[in-house]
C-alpha cells in the first residue's frame, strides 16, 4: 500500500472531522486533489473512516461526478438540459462525437442551469458561451 496515499487521505479525513457522514465531502476533496478516485484511495478512505470498502465503493460509484478512472487531459461537456435540448444540444453532441482531438473527451451533462444561454458547452468544467462555440469546435478538432 502506498503510504503517501494513506497519509494524504488521513489528513483529508481529519480536516473533515473524521466521521462517516462526511464521506461525500471527503471524496470530493480527494478527487479535487488527485483528479480522480483510485482504488488505493478508496481503500484508504474505508480504513480511515472504519467503514466497509463496499460502502465507500458504493457511494463513490453511485454519484455521477465521482471519477473512478483517470481523467482525460481535457473535458468537453455538452449540457443536455431541456432548454439546451430544445435548442439543438443533441445534434451538437452528435457532431462533436464524430471526432475529438486527442486528449479531449466528450461528456454529457445534466442541466448546468445556464438555460438562457443554451446550447451550453463546458470546457474543463467552465461554462463557455455560444460565442466561444466556433473556437471550441476548432480546439476539439471538429470540421
Amino acid at each position: 500500500m502506498d503510504s503517501g496515499v494513506t497519509a494524504s487521505v488521513e489528513r483529508c479525513i481529519d480536516r473533515h472531522g473524521g466521521t462517516a457522514d462526511a464521506l461525500i465531502e471527503i471524496l470530493h476533496a480527494l478527487q479535487q486533489q488527485q483528479g480522480w478516485l483510485s482504488a488505493p484511495t478508496l481503500a484508504a478512505v474505508a480504513r480511515g473512516l472504519a467503514l466497509p470498502l463496499s460502502r465507500v465503493q458504493g457511494v463513490a460509484s453511485f454519484y455521477h461526478l465521482f471519477a473512478l478512472n483517470p481523467p482525460p487531459q481535457h473535458r468537453l461537456g455538452v449540457c443536455l438540459g431541456t432548454a439546451c435540448f430544445v435548442r439543438g444540444a443533441s445534434v451538437l453532441q452528435q457532431r462533436l462525437a464524430q471526432g475529438l482531438a486527442p486528449g479531449w473527451e466528450l461528456e454529457q451533462l445534466s442541466c448546468v442551469g445556464a438555460c438562457a444561454q443554451g446550447p451550453v458547452l463546458l470546457v474543463d468544467g467552465q461554462i463557455a458561451g455560444v460565442a466561444a462555440l466556433e473556437l471550441l469546435a476548432q480546439a476539439a478538432g471538429v470540421p
Partner: protein, 524 residues
C-alpha cells in the same frame, strides 16, 4: 451617486461579464475617477439572462436605472460616460443597440419578493447584505422570542413548498416543532436538478444571505440547532458564494454569539444525482450515503437526519420567508389565487426571445409569462415541472398559473422551469428525451423505476424512428400507468408524466408515428 451594477451570476459570467467589468474599471481609471465618484458594483441576476452580460446604470441624477445587455468590453467607456451624465447623447447613441427597455413587460410585470435583492445586493459582501436588511427579520424573531408566532405568520401567508410538491410551509414547520422534545434539524434543499430550472441557482448566487436568513428563521421557528444546505455540485459559483457567506458569518462572530448564536450551519455539496432532490434521498446523501429514497412514513418531519425530526424546505421557499415577515403575512396572502398564494419564480427558456428569470404573482396566465413577457410566438407548447411535469399546448396558455390549475392539465407547477417548445419539435422526441433522463437518473432501488423507465425509453424510440405499431401505443400507456402507480419515490412516479401529458394533447403525433398496417406484435 453614479453607479454601474454588473451582473455576476453564472449566465452573464459565461457571456463575458468579467471582461466587461474589468473594462469598466479600466475606463473609470482612464477618466481619472475615484471609486467613490463612480461605483462599479458586482450584483446578482438582472433577469434577462439571454442578453448577457447585463449591466444596470444608475445615473448621478437619480433617474430610473438604464439596462444594457450584450455589451462588449469596448462599450465600457460609453457606459461610464452615461453613468456620469445621463444626457451624454454620444454615449447613448453608441450603446443604442445594447439598450434594453426597462419598461418592457418582461420587467414591468414582475413582482419581486424572493428576488427583491437580486441585482441590488453585492452577493459577496455581508456588510452590503446587512445594509439591505439581511438578518433584520431573524433579529426581530429572536427579540420577540415566540417561535409559535413566527409559524402562525407563515401559516397565514399561505406559503407552500416551492420545490414542486406545494406542501403548506407553515403546516410543515408546525409538524416539526410539535414533535416530542429532542434535537431538530433544518435542511435547505438546494439540489435544483430539474433540467430547465435555474431559479435557485440565481438566488444562491445573487443573494445568499437571504437564503441563510430564511433557514435561520426556520430553525428558530422549529427549535433546531443544526442546519444544512444541500447544494448540487453542478453549481460551482453558488457553492463558492454560499461558502463565502457562511465564512463571513463565522468571521463576524454572528454564528458564535450574536444573531445566529446557537445555530450550527453546514454546507453539503452533492455529487451529481438528480434523485437527491427527493427528500429522503437527500437526507441519505447528507449522511454520507448513497442517495436512495426510502419509504415514507416515517416522514422526515418525524424522523429525518440522524433520526431527528427534520424540516426540509426548498431555496425559494426559505428566501420568501424574510420578505413575508417584513411585509406581513396578509400582504403576501393578498397576492395570488385560490390556494396558491404569493409569487413564483420561473426560469424562462427555450424557443423565445426573452430568456431569463421572472417572478410573477400566482394566477398570472401562462400566456402572459410566455408571450407578453417572454415575447414568444409560434409556440407549440410550454413544458413546466421538469421531468415529472408535462406540456401545456398553445391553445391552453390562458390557464392561470397555480399548483392546482397546472395539475388539472396533467402538468405541474414544479420547481419553476418553464421551457417554450417550438412548432417543429416532435413530441415523442421530447418524451424520449425526458425518459432518457429519468432512466439515467433512476437510483435503481425499486424495479418499476429502474426497469420501467428503460422499457419506456425503448418503446418511445420506436415512435421517434417511425417504426411503432398500435400495440406499442397500448404498451406505452400500460407501462406508463404501471411505473407511475408503483414506483417508490417521486422520480419514478413522475417519470411517465411527460409521456402521459404529450399523449393527452398530442396523441396524433404518436399515432402518425405508427407504421400503417402494423397492428399485431410490437416491432422488436
Amino acid at each position: 451617486m453614479a453607479r454601474i451594477r454588473c451582473c455576476t451570476a453564472s449566465g452573464c459570467r459565461a457571456a463575458g461579464g468579467p471582461a466587461l467589468q474589468q473594462a469598466l474599471q479600466q475606463a473609470r481609471a482612464d477618466q481619472g475617477l475615484s471609486t467613490a465618484a463612480l461605483t462599479i458594483k458586482p450584483v446578482g441576476c438582472l433577469r434577462l439572462c439571454g442578453r448577457g452580460p447585463l449591466v444596470a446604470v444608475d445615473g448621478a441624477d437619480g433617474g430610473a436605472p438604464r439596462l444594457y445587455g450584450a455589451v462588449p468590453p469596448a462599450g465600457a467607456p460609453a457606459l461610464v460616460e452615461l453613468a456620469l451624465a445621463a444626457d451624454a447623447t454620444g454615449a447613448a447613441a453608441a450603446l443604442a443597440a445594447q439598450a434594453i427597455d426597462g419598461e418592457h413587460p418582461f420587467f414591468a410585470l414582475q413582482q419581486p419578493v424572493v428576488l427583491e435583492g437580486l441585482g441590488l445586493v453585492d452577493p459577496e459582501s455581508l456588510d452590503d447584505a446587512l445594509a439591505h436588511g439581511a438578518y433584520s427579520q431573524l433579529q426581530r424573531c429572536r427579540a420577540e422570542g415566540r417561535p409559535e408566532q413566527v409559524r402562525a405568520r407563515i401559516r397565514r401567508s399561505g406559503l407552500r413548498g416551492r420545490g414542486g410538491a406545494g406542501y403548506p410551509t407553515g403546516l410543515k414547520w408546525d409538524t416539526v416543532a410539535l414533535q416530542p422534545p429532542g434535537p431538530r434539524v433544518v435542511v435547505c434543499n438546494a439540489d435544483e436538478g430539474d433540467p430547465g430550472a435555474f431559479m435557485d441557482r440565481a438566488v444562491l448566487e445573487g443573494d445568499p444571505h437571504r437564503v441563510l436568513e430564511g433557514l435561520a428563521i426556520a430553525a428558530f421557528a422549529v427549535g433546531a440547532e443544526l442546519g444544512y444546505v444541500y447544494l448540487r455540485a453542478e453549481y460551482p459559483l453558488a457553492i463558492a458564494r454560499l461558502r463565502r457567506a457562511l465564512q463571513q458569518l463565522r468571521q463576524h462572530g454572528l454564528l458564535q454569539h450574536g444573531l445566529l448564536q446557537g445555530l450550527d450551519l453546514q454546507l453539503r455539496v452533492g455529487a451529481g444525482a438528480y434523485v437527491c432532490g427527493e427528500e429522503t434521498a437527500l437526507l441519505a446523501s447528507i449522511a454520507g450515503g448513497r442517495g436512495t429514497p426510502r419509504q415514507r412514513p416515517p416522514y422526515p418531519a418525524q424522523q429525518g437526519l440522524f433520526g431527528s425530526p427534520t424540516l426540509i424546505n426548498n431555496v425559494e421557499t426559505l428566501a420568501a420567508v424574510p420578505a413575508i415577515l417584513r411585509r406581513g403575512a396578509d400582504w403576501y396572502a393578498a397576492l395570488g389565487m385560490g390556494r396558491s398564494r404569493g409569487t413564483k419564480v420561473f426560469s424562462l427558456s427555450g424557443a423565445l426571445p426573452h430568456t431569463g428569470l421572472v417572478e410573477v404573482p400566482m394566477g398570472t396566465s401562462l400566456r402572459t409569462v410566455v408571450e407578453t413577457m417572454g415575447g414568444a410566438s409560434g409556440v407549440k407548447a410550454v413544458q413546466t415541472g421538469g421531468p415529472a411535469g408535462g406540456c401545456i399546448p398553445a391553445e391552453l396558455l390562458d390557464v392561470p398559473i397555480a399548483y392546482e390549475t397546472l395539475a388539472e392539465l396533467g402538468s405541474m407547477l414544479g420547481s419553476g422551469g418553464m421551457v417554450v417548445l417550438p412548432e417543429g419539435l416532435p413530441m415523442p422526441q421530447l418524451a424520449r428525451y425526458f425518459m432518457g433522463f429519468c432512466a439515467a437518473e433512476s437510483c435503481g432501488k425499486c424495479l418499476p423505476c429502474r426497469a420501467g423507465t428503460v422499457q419506456l425509453a425503448q418503446v418511445l424510440d420506436r415512435f421517434c424512428d417511425g417504426r411503432a405499431s398500435q400495440a406499442d401505443l397500448v404498451q406505452l400507456e400500460q407501462l406508463a400507468a404501471m411505473v407511475k402507480a408503483t414506483s417508490l419515490c417521486g422520480l419514478g412516479q413522475g417519470a411517465p408524466n411527460p409521456v402521459l401529458s404529450t399523449l393527452r394533447f398530442f396523441r396524433h403525433e404518436y399515432e402518425a408515428a405508427c407504421t400503417s398496417g402494423a397492428s399485431g406484435e410490437p416491432a422488436r
